[in-house]
């Protein structure tokens, strides 16, 4: 019997175990983190498979909700759980051969707990419990971003800390307002009582939640922290920000605005803020001289695009948004890890320093190109199918202005990424040769394989997204699932 609680329990066990033995046996964090996260992924994958047939619900403390906290894994949360844990696992695999940040044992403790927080956000069925896991994810992220203790990482960390703390206190106020109205904290229970909630209270709570999770999912104008955090963090942690932390924030944003407070206002706000983020971030990426900062802006832009598509709210659009979210996670994590390998070997940060690297190191160049082409939606890669479904679902709704703005942003994106690829393959005799550790490259090769396999046969994965988008679209089936039975 797989129980979602096990992910939380095992992660805590791993984290406390590192704390227990680290003064006696140093440098075990790496291995323990790898094993713990591997186990989490195993549980998460079996849960996800099971939830496609029947959703999994776990109660805690021996009482039924709304009196105690429950965890729910249904197809929509299953997809996000899979993204987060798979990416987390690949990052921990990468760190097996890549030096972790110092102090290493504490770094890996933070990494385990960060993933636990993200999985908790995705699985919980309780509003306040979501806040607790949100705090766990956020606090570990601040520390992971600033652990390098260089000027840039401290700057990123402290900006993130301040903005995200304001966001989380707004979220807390929203929880208090909703609890005052309904007398319960269970997400399904509150959702069922939405018609009885005072209209203006619901509106204020909705806006507070929106702002809080716009901060986490890097939506303009609440994303001032993001470029600095991405740039200052270690490359593995930038990958974590792109593939795990922002995805957990995105999940909470969607779950709370689709299931908890399903207000008609949502659609407009998500589309407007999303597309604004997409355009501004892509234009900012265009003029960056540093690779990591360029990728950071591109990451923010992608999050904006995904949020805007979620805003359309039809089943094909939801499906497209989820698909694009997955593709973005895979590509961006691969890119950040590759940049990490380059920095470890050569210590270069600027775009121009990459001149000829791809020509000199064929494997590196190939992996870079695959990840970039996938992000751009080149035909026969997974990204092509998600970009195509974005355009189709937008066009179908007659949102032609949105469609043209998406295309504009996409053209800007193509321009700076192709420029980057051109630099990679430029003729340069002085380009250095990279020592690539196979274990270090493994996670990236795995992601490249995913990109190609899904690109050739998207039918392998689209049924999963279909189920997920149906699950988030029909909020009453979620309510029935939790408090009906």
């Amino acid at each position: 019997m797989v129980n979602p609680i096990l992910i939380i329990a095992i992660s805590l066990f791993g984290a406390f175990f590192i704390a227990l033995i680290s003064p006696f046996v140093k440098r075990t964090g790496k291995i323990i983190a790898f094993l713990t996260i591997g186990f989490d992924l195993y549980i998460g994958a079996s849960l996800a498979l099971k939830s496609l047939r029947t959703p999994v619900i776990a109660y805690t403390a021996g009482f039924k909700p709304p009196f105690s906290i429950n965890l729910v894994v249904e197809p929509f949360s299953a997809v996000f759980l899979l993204i987060v844990l798979t990416i987390g696992f690949l990052i921990s695999l990468y760190y097996l051969a890549h030096p972790g940040e110092e102090p290493e044992d504490k770094f890996f403790t933070l990494l385990i707990l960060n993933l636990m927080g993200a999985s908790g956000i995705i699985m919980t069925g309780d509003l306040f419990n979501l806040f607790v896991f949100f705090e766990i994810t956020a606090i570990s992220s601040y520390a992971l971003v600033s652990i390098r203790k260089q000027k840039a990482s401290l700057e990123g960390g402290i900006k993130y800390l301040i903005i995200s703390s304001i966001g989380s206190s707004l979220f807390l106020v929203a929880i208090a307002l909703l609890y005052g109205q309904t007398g319960t904290l269970n997400i399904a229970d509150i959702a069922a009582k939405l018609p009885f909630i005072n209209k203006s209270v619901a509106l204020v709570a909705f806006l507070l939640i929106l702002v809080a999770f716009f901060v986490e999912s890097e939506i303009f104008p609440f994303n001032g922290w993001a470029p600095d955090a991405y740039q200052g963090a270690g490359e593995g942690i930038s990958a974590l920000l792109a593939g795990v932390i922002s995805k957990a924030g995105l999940y909470a944003l969607i779950r709370l605005t689709f299931t908890l407070l399903d207000l008609p206002l949502r659609s407009k706000l998500l589309i407007v803020f999303g597309i604004m983020t997409f355009l501004i971030a892509e234009l900012s990426a265009l003029k960056q001289k540093r690779v990591k900062r360029m990728l950071a802006y591109s990451s923010i832009g992608q999050m904006g695009l995904v949020v805007a598509i979620f805003g359309i709210g039809t089943i094909p659009a939801l499906k497209a948004a989820i698909f694009q979210g997955v593709n973005h996670a895979v590509s961006k994590v691969a890119l950040f890890l590759l940049v990490g390998m380059v920095i470890k070997n050569l210590g270069i940060y600027k775009l121009d320093d990459y001149k000829g690297l791809g020509r000199k190191n064929p494997l590196l160049g190939l992996l870079f190109s695959l990840a970039i082409l996938n992000l751009l939606g080149f035909p026969l890669f997974a990204g092509f199918w998600s970009k195509l479904s974005i355009l189709l679902s937008t066009g179908k709704q007659g949102l032609y202005l949105l469609l043209s703005l998406i295309l504009t942003g996409a053209i800007v994106e193509v321009y700076y990424y192709v420029r980057f690829m051109k630099i990679l393959y430029e003729r340069n005799e002085e380009a250095s040769h990279l020592e690539i550790h196979l274990l270090e490259a493994m996670p990236i090769i795995a992601m490249a394989a995913f990109i190609i396999i899904i690109g050739v046969n998207p039918g392998l994965i689209t049924p999963l997204f279909e189920k997920a988008s149906e699950a988030i679209f029909m909020k009453f089936s979620y309510i029935n699932l939790v408090i009906g039975g």
Partner: protein, 227 residues
């Protein structure tokens, strides 16, 4: 200038919108749904005389495990960020005879009081978190009174890690025996007695140890200086 005006406007807007809705949430009136259930059935269902404790440790025990993790994270993060940094401090004056003598007598009393607070969490106000902090304050007194005094990192990590792992195991035992994580698998006993409320005192003792060790660790990290 425009930026500042905008910020002020934003805060005024936030304040106004909150002010306009707070009146719809009536405070101090009869409790509804979940809170009503806790008040009416809390003692019967959990065996804890202190209903707040019953809510914190059992009904919403999963949140409490999360809060314990938040504290653990904060301590770990602090340790990680201070790692490798050593602050120069002024030559410390040894504390006066009065402080060091008094500390010797007060230290065990504070520890005793802290222990009392976390052992009686299910009966009286308090519990693992305040109990643990009280214990840490005893160590703070020790650090102030005897500037050379050290608490070994090994002892702290051992206490912290063991208490955390035992907490998780307690939760898992509930999962194994009653098919629900953190469920009470021990007899409830008679409310009001020291040995009652099943796993609540057990969990609060573990939290007491964990919080005590963690907060002491934080103090230790902050007082460490250039060697």
């Amino acid at each position: 200038m425009i930026k500042k005006v905008l910020i002020i406007l934003l805060f005024v807007l936030l304040g106004l919108s909150l002010y306009s809705v707070v009146k719809y949430n009536t405070f101090g009136e009869d409790k509804t749904v979940v809170a009503r259930h806790y008040i009416d059935y809390g003692m019967k269902e959990t065996g804890s005389q202190n209903i707040v404790t019953a809510v914190v440790v059992l009904y919403r025990g999963f949140d409490t495990l999360g809060e314990v993790t938040v504290l653990f994270l904060a301590a770990t993060a602090l340790g990680a960020l201070l790692h490798g940094l050593r602050f120069k401090s002024k030559e410390k004056e040894p504390s006066s005879l009065i402080v060091s003598t008094a500390a010797r007598y007060i230290f065990p009393l504070i520890i005793l009081f802290g222990t009392y607070v976390f052992v009686h969490g299910h009966l009286t106000p308090g519990g693992g978190f305040p109990g643990g902090v009280i214990i840490a304050s005893a160590f703070l007194l020790l650090f102030l009174a005897y500037t050379q005094k050290e608490v070994s990192e090994k002892t702290l990590s051992l206490t912290e890690g063991t208490a955390g792992i035992l907490y998780v195991i307690t939760g898992l035992l509930g999962l194994v025996m009653l098919n629900s994580f953190l469920a009470n698998f021990l007899p409830k006993g008679i409310p009001g007695k020291l040995l009652s409320a099943g796993i609540i005192p057990l969990i609060y003792i573990l939290i007491g140890f964990k919080v005590g060790a963690e907060m002491t660790g934080v103090l230790r990290n902050l007082k460490e200086e250039e060697k």
